[in-house]
Symmetry: C2
Subunit: 251 residues, 2 copies
């Protein structure tokens, strides 16, 4: 038997659900770009999503919250389950267990794991991620310029983005990704980043204002080059209501 195919013992921790993990795609928005949060495994050049194993005494939603807290320090995030990944071979176990041997003991690897994907939406300006004991960095990366990603996490990221696009019209994406006060161009650039295309600013503004999901404040953004934009805030109740009615549909 080749070394690559050497069988790896199963984890046998009574408090863990065997072979069931959660991986989280944390989306943020800054400078007109969608970003995601990645962890760099200690002593390697490989990055991956914050993820871990589900425990016996927690729901998977609770597990997603706990795991994000443990691995990135972030809590109380807007979290949504989007897909479960259950291929038989999701990545090369021999390669990955060797690369991470100094961090994860051999008996902590599953031969196969099913991973439930969650995405989180956070206000980039209010969140201060920090790496955990397995990582030496926890940083934002632009979607267009991702580093070397381990496991099948690139695929998970793609699927998360695809889900976010579909749910943009039904989830309070703007509310969760933007600061409390934001300008119309910021909101527009968020939609552009998620949809991957340009929108006409006049038409965009009309459409948003017509639904009544935002209120214009008696303030403009300060300390900004060029003309200062007005600030807006979401009318959460109205926003929820419009989303439920499918009345904020972009394609």
């Amino acid at each position: 038997m080749k070394e690559e195919q050497e069988p790896i013992k199963k984890v046998n921790e009574p408090n863990l659900i065997p072979q069931l993990t959660i991986d989280c795609v944390v989306f943020g928005f800054h400078d007109g770009n969608l970003k995601i949060l990645l962890l760099k495994w200690k002593g390697t050049k490989g990055w991956s999503l914050p993820g871990s194993i589900v425990m016996q005494d927690e729901s998977i939603d609770d597990a997603a919250n706990r795991i994000l807290k443990e691995r990135t320090g972030l809590s109380d995030l807007f979290l949504r389950q989007f897909h479960t990944f259950g291929e038989v071979k999701r990545y090369n176990i021999a390669k990955h267990s060797k690369m991470l041997a100094h961090l994860i003991e051999k008996n902590l690897w599953f031969e196969r794991a099913i991973s439930i994907g969650y995405y989180a939406l956070v206000d980039y300006t209010e969140v201060f991620p920090r790496p955990d004991e397995f990582s030496d960095a926890c940083e934002w990366w632009e979607l267009e310029e991702l580093p070397t990603i381990l496991f099948d996490h690139k695929k998970i990221i793609q699927k998360a983005l695809q889900s976010l696009r579909l749910e943009l019209n039904f989830q309070p994406v703007g509310y969760n990704l933007l600061p409390k006060k934001f300008s119309m161009p910021e909101l527009q650039r968020l939609y552009e980043a998620i949809l991957g295309k340009k929108i006409d600013p006049r038409n965009f503004q009309k459409k948003i204002l017509k639904t009544g999901v935002v209120n214009r404040l008696n303030e403009v953004k300060k300390g900004v080059a060029h003309r200062a934009p007005f600030l807006y805030s979401f009318d959460c109740k109205k926003y929820q209501q419009v989303l439920e009615e499918g009345g904020l549909f972009f394609s």
Copy 2:
């Protein structure tokens, strides 16, 4: 310790993934009603979704196909994963294991299981379900008139229906739920059943025809009371294309 709370041993079959199950919501359409396929557990009055345990050497998509084949006899269905259910207590295990004690040995019960939900879309006229060894019936039920449902399967059905509604605009629902040849009123009633509301027939026909996803055949439906409707068939390529562009949006 009360008998009801007696701990139940974990399944320890090496070929199974512990605590991971799949449940399938099979949708059909007949007589203007959406229906789903349920199994009646032998010797009980309880019905549930076709489901079972995932095995080590199959992907979860393969598992869903296998499970549907084993439990209902149906194969080659249009299947989509829609949600994973991972509450700690998804149902009363003591009650269910007692009710099904004559069918499922005690050591085959998990203390807790996570279930991945799939929905299937089938052509009611071409499918002949049959119960398996654990069931004495495998029958279609109208969504509005469901019998006593075991486990948390009612919740799973609700979520499946909700997902179907959302994905109606992005999945070839009509193609999979209707016979090859169908009338415009049939297609309309399908949309009405899924969306849960009436649609004006003139506006519906115009909208469908404008997209070009169906072709009118030189045939009318035979053996039908009253005026015979024209038959149509899907232009699959065009249908796919229109769905991808989001051009068949109903709300």
